[in-house]
Amino acid sequence: MYVYETSRSSDQPRQITLLFGYGLIGSAVGRSLACHDQQTIQSRRLQWSDPDLLEQDLESVATELQRRERHEGLPELERLSIVWTAGGCGFQSTTEETERELISFERVLNALPRLVENLAADHAVFHLVSSAGALFEGQRHVTNISQPAPHRPYGHLKWAQEQRLARLPAGWRTAVHRVATAYGLITPHHRAGLITTLVRNALHHRTTQIYGRPTTLRDFVCVDDIGAYLTAWLTSSSVADLPSEAVLATARPAAIYEIQHLVSAAVQQPVPLQYIPSRGNDQDITFLPAALPTKRWAPTNLQANILRIATRYRESMRYASTT
């Protein structure tokens, strides 16, 4: 977990953001916040498996924040934001695994009201990063009026997390961001998506196994775009227009076949694939423009991003081989 605060040199009102989860999406949010006058003031590895330790961790975060308020003459806290991108579950997770993750989520939710009370923030906003792919699995042409219909435990977990937000006290603003298929720069310890896996394997001359078909359509979203969108709202002076639900997609579906071709052009090598038939994974999930947020959402070009990922990874390989 990372805690960000508006830099003292900034002319923005003071805000604190608690970022739970520093994976593929969380790290993109963190990078974007760092570029927008938000400095890291705490970081902590939370004890998810032990409820008492988890509560202690959250208490100590709150205590430290209160201490800073009292002793460092900080301006009034205008907004406290929580961003939840945490979670180790995925599409292949079992019901037991998702239930454990839901319990961890609930513990954090239960601890938040006290945190807000202690910090005396004027406003509190909870941003939940959910999964459009899990919620709308098998649905095509999803719009803003489409109803989630999860098929798997992971989808039910995401739906349950969204419903749990209603338990937050009145006065909390909530925003659910349903992310389509995320991809981003390759980082060693984070879960890699399809595109990053293809780039990495192609450059290492490895075959990638794909559970699905070459013609399966997905909507690929760059995590940096997600980071930029969330940061725009986190640092905004007003969240009056913040949508309570939004699908973060591009409305530009791409088949696995096309991704293979784009990656091959970017790495300038063949991209060997092995397709493993898998019912469920071979269903298209696509979104129409009507599903997308109308403000502050500006997805970038897929081809350019793939090229960027390939270039950066190739540079890191070159660097690793010379050190």
């Binding site: 042409h141 070459p214 013609t215 096309e258 071709h261």
Partner: protein, 346 residues
């Protein structure tokens, strides 16, 4: 049966006067399909603003406000009809994709008939063919287009070239696969042909009212020639092969010539009355033969590289299983009444 979805792709260049009418007919088509028992839906329409030169962008902005199933893709400059079609297809997600022009030369009301033919014949592509009429009412315009296609068809050995038309219904997975490998110079219909040979045509009344009324077209002679060049270059591994074969034949001819000079020199030296001629000819023929062989080999490798660069697939897997069930509704699609919008400019 799961609904079969159709995506429509419309490249836009000079459509301010016709887009509203086109939209109206698409709305009527969508409503007719929704009301019919056939499990088919017009799911989205993708307008590709290809560097439009009039107020088309404003018209498109208005259309997007009126229908959430309208999608506008704006290109950074004018890239041409094929690249714009490719861009639109790559934004589509329908089971079937139909491309049509902006000016109601191609009537959305005819799309169900095209789909009916496709599923009855298990075809992957259906091209519209002008039903005997002259599309542009211009002998030069229509005649030159037909002639160029016939020439290219003969040179390339591809009989489908004469069917090519911008009003085409394509199986979604194949359209997107072809679009994925198309580059700036690829003739899109040739790329489609790399993925399937199940191609049909349907005779429809196609009339370019805009050209006939205003004598205005996006195509002039230069563009038609450029079009033909691209068609030839994309389809033409065969002409490269001809170059390779000619190289080998030239090498063989030079070898025969070389032997003839040797035989003449030793059998009847008196026949050669110029001193040094035999040596000079021997060297010239020998070197020419070597160069011809090398050129032939180079051309052969070039054709392999070209195929690779163009992205021609080694194979492609397709799923046509939904056609059987949809073919039961073919008659409904053939007779679907869609009110046509009069072709008057707004």
């Amino acid at each position: 049966m799961t609904h079969v979805s159709i995506s429509a792709v419309v490249p836009v260049y000079r459509g301010e006067k016709t887009l509203a009418n086109l939209f109206d007919e698409l709305v009527r088509l969508k409503a007719s399909l929704a009301a019919s028992p056939a499990p088919v839906e017009l799911m989205e329409v993708i307008f590709v603003d290809d560097g439009s030169v009039d107020q088309s962008a404003d018209v498109l902005r208005d259309l997007v406000e009126r229908a959430p199933w309208i999608h506008v893709v704006t290109l950074s400059k004018n890239f041409g009809q094929h690249p714009a079609t490719v861009a639109g297809i790559l934004h589509s997600s329908g089971d079937w994709v139909v491309s049509l022009d902006e000016d109601l030369q191609h009537r959305p009301a005819d799309i169900p008939k095209m789909l009916s033919l496709a599923v009855r014949q298990t075809a992957d592509i259906v091209y519209a063919q002008p039903a005997g009429n002259s599309v542009h009412a211009s002998r030069f315009r229509d005649g030159s287009s037909r002639l160029i296609k016939k020439i290219v068809s003969a040179i390339s050995g591809n009989p489908n070239v004469t069917r090519f038309n911008s009003f085409r219904l394509m199986r979604g997975s194949i359209a997107r696969a072809a679009a994925a490998i198309a580059s700036h110079d690829t003739y899109f219909d040739i790329a489609l042909g790399w993925f399937t040979n199940r191609i049909e045509s349907i005779s429809l009344a196609l009339t370019d009212h805009r050209f006939q009324e205003q004598k205005q077209s996006g195509y002039n002679l230069y563009r038609l020639i450029s079009h033909a060049r691209r068609l030839l270059v994309t389809s033409n591994i065969k002409s490269l092969r001809i170059g390779a074969i000619l190289g080998v034949l030239a090498a063989m001819a030079s070898l025969v010539g070389l032997l003839a000079v040797f035989v003449l020199k030793f059998v009847d030296p008196a026949a050669i009355d110029v001193r040094g001629w035999a040596s000079l000819m021997s060297v010239v023929l020998f070197v020419f033969g070597i160069l011809s062989i090398q050129s032939g080999v180079l051309i052969e490798y070039l054709s392999i590289v070209l195929l690779r660069v163009q992205g021609k697939p080694a194979y492609f897997v397709v799923d046509r299983s939904a056609d059987v069930a949809l073919a039961d509704h073919a008659e409904t699609l053939d007779t679907l009444a869609v009110e046509r919008v009069p072709v008057t400019s707004h």
